[in-house]
């Protein structure tokens, strides 16, 4: 077995667990393939037959509407059979272990698992346990990784800015609790982005974040200066333990994206947000709905990127 648990013996992608350590060619191949899938959704028949006969199980141990729905649409547009496991009605709530659940689904001939779990490493655990012809996609594990979100963010940036060389990308807000930020930083580094910045209060930045190859700013106005891309993160109230912040209003004043702060970035800077947004907290409505916002195209591209990942894994 190769050193990277995501790669098969020939170096091809067989699971997608994290972007960390992935070769640049694999990420570029996913983004290029996604480009070809964008057109599929504009046709009379919005499906291709690639994954006919393959069963994709959406295992969501943690709530998510957008990610689960876009994975479901992606799998259906590839002609896969999709089974959504609603965890509140599943055996997990009756005490069945994660791996017992996986064994049972494997006995039902599951070919692909899309896993969202509050525990970091859950998708890795399932991938190690899975059979040789099964594929696992991490749809978000704890604070660790959300690789398809990182890929769709990279796709969106490439779509609007064409090249990564020469770009300044600012990621703003709750970096500490954000698997989205971590995955995007890995993607940007691998794709050769020279200037990646994280902006947030000390309490919402992980210690040693500089080691990820980013520049750290506590003053948002300084951090946004000359940025080509601004990625706003959601203030994750449900993940906050203890008083890391004075109040949402206070946060908005210092780290909310308002029109006057946006004006400090380049005039053609794009504004991204993984959703769901807290309007008036991390982003003002006038910015979220403004001409520089590409927040809704991100959702559309997300389907094409997930189709690309599934079609590459399914054929490996």
């Amino acid at each position: 077995m190769s050193a990277n648990p995501q790669l098969n013996a020939k170096g091809g992608l067989t699971h997608l667990l994290t972007l960390e350590g992935l070769p640049r060619e694999i990420i570029t191949h996913i983004l290029d393939t996604a480009t070809s899938f964008v057109g599929v959704t504009e046709r009379e028949v919005k499906k291709v037959p690639l994954l006919r006969g393959i069963s994709v199980f959406n295992l969501f141990f943690e709530n998510s509407t957008r990610t689960r729905t876009t994975f479901e649409i992606a799998a259906k547009r590839l002609s896969a059979d999709v089974i959504n496991l609603n965890i509140s009605t599943s055996s997990a709530s009756k005490g069945e272990s994660l791996l017992d659940t996986v064994d049972n689904l494997s006995a039902m001939h599951a070919d692909m698992f899309v896993v969202r779990h509050a525990q970091s490493g859950a998708a890795h655990l399932i991938a190690r346990h899975a059979g040789p012809y099964q594929h696992v996609i991490n749809a978000g594990d704890g604070r660790h990784a959300h690789p398809t979100q990182g890929l769709l963010d990279a796709y969106t940036i490439r779509h609007y800015k064409k090249e990564f060389s020469g770009l300044a990308v600012a990621i703003v807000g709750d970096i500490l609790h954000s698997r989205v930020a971590r995955s995007l930083i890995h993607a940007l580094n691998i794709l050769g982005t020279p200037d990646v910045r994280v902006i947030g209060p000390q309490t919402l930045l992980p210690t040693g974040v500089e080691s990820l190859g980013v520049r750290v700013f506590h003053d948002m106005r300084k951090g946004l200066a000359g940025a080509d891309v601004i990625v706003m993160l959601r203030l994750q109230n449900e993940r906050m333990r203890g008083p890391l912040l004075p109040s949402a209003q206070e946060f908005n004043k210092s780290y909310g994206l308002t029109p006057d702060k946006l004006a400090l970035a380049k005039p053609d800077a794009i504004v991204m947000h993984p959703g769901p947004m807290n309007r008036g907290v991390e982003i003002d409505s006038s910015v979220a709905d403004g001409v520089q916002s590409v927040i809704l195209p991100q959702v559309t591209f997300g389907i094409a990127v997930r189709m690309a990942v599934m079609s590459i894994l399914g054929g490996s």
């Binding site: 480009t35 070809s36 057109g39 046709r43 009379e44 028949v45 037959p49 054929g315």
Partner: protein, 163 residues
Amino acid sequence: MQLPDAETLCADLVRQLRPHVTPETGMVGIHTGGAWLAERLHQELGFVVPLGMLDISFYRDDYRKSGLHKSVRASKIPFDVNGRHLLLVDDVLYTGRTVRAAMNELFDYGRPETIQLAALVDRGERQLPICAQYVGTNLTVPKGRMLRLDRDASGRLTLRIDA
């Protein structure tokens, strides 16, 4: 082995096709060699309807065996295929599997009135009941060798055999 001149074959295809082209005929090339040939035919025959391109990677029958192709380009059909007479263009007609995949993809854009096939070279060895209406030449190529079309910087087409 001595390969025929692709430019001569292309000119011959133009002669064969000319009486059958109407202002409503649509042309679709299959990536990559078929797309190059289609670009030439489309221009020289003065097609009115813009040229369509197919990358059949998402319709291949060997996906489960060989996986997704390393470089996938976007398919683009910039016209309504419903009720239209279509001319499908590929460089080399061989097993017929590529044409099968291309026809399946075309039907996901709508229901064409007819589909006809033009190929620069027909090398036989069909595995499916498919034939071309317009052929530049028939050629026997040793099994397992790949016959390919190349295009140089000046746009000149040549045939080549890969090991």
